[in-house]
């Protein structure tokens, strides 16, 4: 099964999750997702997701100057984002356990 299709639905959740503890700029978020095991995540999808979460008011951003190269725009999760993260986690847990149950029946 193509995991990139699955990823589309939960990328919001994954991005919010990796920003939960530390702020990060775009490429930082990509690296954290890959380090967490989401090897197939596309750079552009992550950047797009960041923009969407930002426009939905779940992230704030600030620019950090860099001596070499362009400035880096960091994203940090705000209260709205944390609430959404908690809700989405519950949704995901119940969805995953439902699906696990279905798959158990198939295996049995």
């Amino acid at each position: 099964m193509d995991t990139s299709q699955l990823l589309k639905g939960v990328l919001d959740l994954a991005v919010l999750a990796v920003l939960r503890k530390d702020d990060g700029y775009g490429y930082d978020v990509v690296r954290r997702l890959r380090a967490g095991g989401l090897n197939d995540v596309g750079d552009a999808s992550v950047y797009g997701t960041l923009r969407r979460l930002y426009n939905a008011g779940m992230l704030t951003s600030y620019v950090v100057p860099s001596e070499e190269g362009p400035h880096r725009k960091y994203y940090s999760i705000n209260e709205t984002g944390r609430v959404r993260l908690a809700e989405s986690r519950e949704t995901w847990r119940s969805f995953a356990s439902t699906l696990d149950g279905l798959l158990e029946e198939v295996a049995a």
Partner: protein, 365 residues
């Protein structure tokens, strides 16, 4: 390195073109992310690797980003509007900033005389910032203007050259300049305080905000619309303060030279009536009733001076003779006041030869 830098520019240009149907401020925000991304990625590339191999074509990147961000699919714009306009808003804003900074420098040299002149660059700044205020903190469009790129090239000489070291050193002084700038602006405000309260408030506000604006401009280039003119104003004020101080010094030197008071030359004053008779115990006062005291002091008479206190404005003053460490008051030699040639009876004997009418020496109250 150069081909990679070209590759980055090319890739970003392709991205911008693929996004140009979106609102400009949104494009600016996206490009802020993407510029840093592509720049960082380009440093990780292998020998014969290109950005396209890692990220796909700019169009693919843009399309994936759009769908993840929830933007509408690409709509074709009319070719006319995608053409580069010569006078775009970013360009007008950049030139407005440059011109306003120059005008502020000139106005700064006159700001202490006429603070209202600062309104002119102020208006230009507000208008030019309004053009690009919605284009994001990094002002990517202005940074991509050919003239801006040229300036950036000048300001980044090759590493290791003296010019590069000098610039790096100057950069390290930047925080100190922010403080010095606030100090200069504060000084300007103080100098204005007595004459123009509005000007004082205006310049003082600039001084206070400038401390905040310096570091802020590092992360949000829109603060440059405040920080650059504030620097220009500080330099202009510095010129003016130096100019005024130099003028004052020259004036003081001249006046010290010219206004040598005449009184110190006199040790004593002898008044004669019209018959040539020396008047004694004359008390001299000026028009305000203040005693006129010859500046010479009676030195050397210690506390246990046997002489009674003599009013300092009573003329002729008794002569003081110092003998064996004590003072003696000697009545002035009436016939021939000595030691000063300027006193009226300079022609040795009693009567003054010139028919000078006596001056009234009574208090004029």
């Amino acid at each position: 390195m150069n081909t990679q830098a070209l590759g980055v520019e090319y890739y970003l240009a392709g991205m911008r073109a693929a996004l140009d149907d979106l609102p400009p401020n949104e494009v600016a925000e996206i490009m802020e992310d993407v510029e840093a991304h592509v720049a960082e990625l380009s440093t990780e590339l292998g020998e014969n690797e290109t950005i396209e191999q890692r990220l796909g074509s700019p169009e693919q990147y843009a399309q994936e980003l759009r769908s993840a961000a929830g933007y509408p699919p690409r709509t074709e714009r009319l070719p006319v509007t995608t053409k580069k306009k010569l006078l775009s808003r970013p360009r007008a804003a950049a030139w407005g900033l440059a011109i306003a900074t120059g005008v502020t420098l000139l106005a700064g040299t006159a700001a202490l005389r006429e603070p209202a002149i600062l309104l002119l660059p102020g208006v230009i700044l507000v208008l030019s910032l309004a053009l690009v205020h919605d284009r994001g903190a990094t002002q990517a469009e202005i940074m991509a203007l050919p003239e801006t790129i040229k300036i950036k090239e000048w300001l980044t000489p090759e590493a290791g050259t003296p010019a590069e070291r000098a610039l790096a050193y100057l950069r390290s002084l930047q925080p100190a300049w922010w403080l010095a700038r606030a100090g200069l602006l504060g000084l300007g405000a103080v100098l204005l305080a007595s004459r123009d309260i509005l000007g004082f408030l205006f310049v003082a506000a600039i001084a206070v905000v400038s401390v905040y604006a310096g570091p802020r401009a590092k992360t949000d280039r829109r603060w440059l619309w405040f920080s650059l003119p504030a620097s220009a104003l500080a330099v202009g004020l510095l010129f003016q303060v130096i100019d005024t101080t130099a003028d004052n010094l020259a004036y003081n030197n001249r006046s010290v030279y010219q206004q040598v008071p005449s009184m110190p030359q006199y040790e004593n004053i002898y008044a004669y009536d019209e018959n040539g008779k020396l008047l004694t115990n004359v008390l001299l006062y000026d028009e305000d009733g203040n005693p006129i005291n010859a500046p010479r002091q009676y030195y050397g008479c210690s506390g246990d001076d046997p002489q009674p206190m003599i009013p300092a404005n009573r003329y002729p003053r008794p002569k003081i003779d110092y003998e064996n460490g004590t003072c003696y008051t000697v009545a002035p030699d009436v016939s021939a006041p000595s030691s000063t040639e300027d006193t009226p009876p300079s022609s040795s004997d009693a009567a003054p030869s010139s028919p000078v009418s006596p001056t009234s020496v009574s208090p004029s109250k």
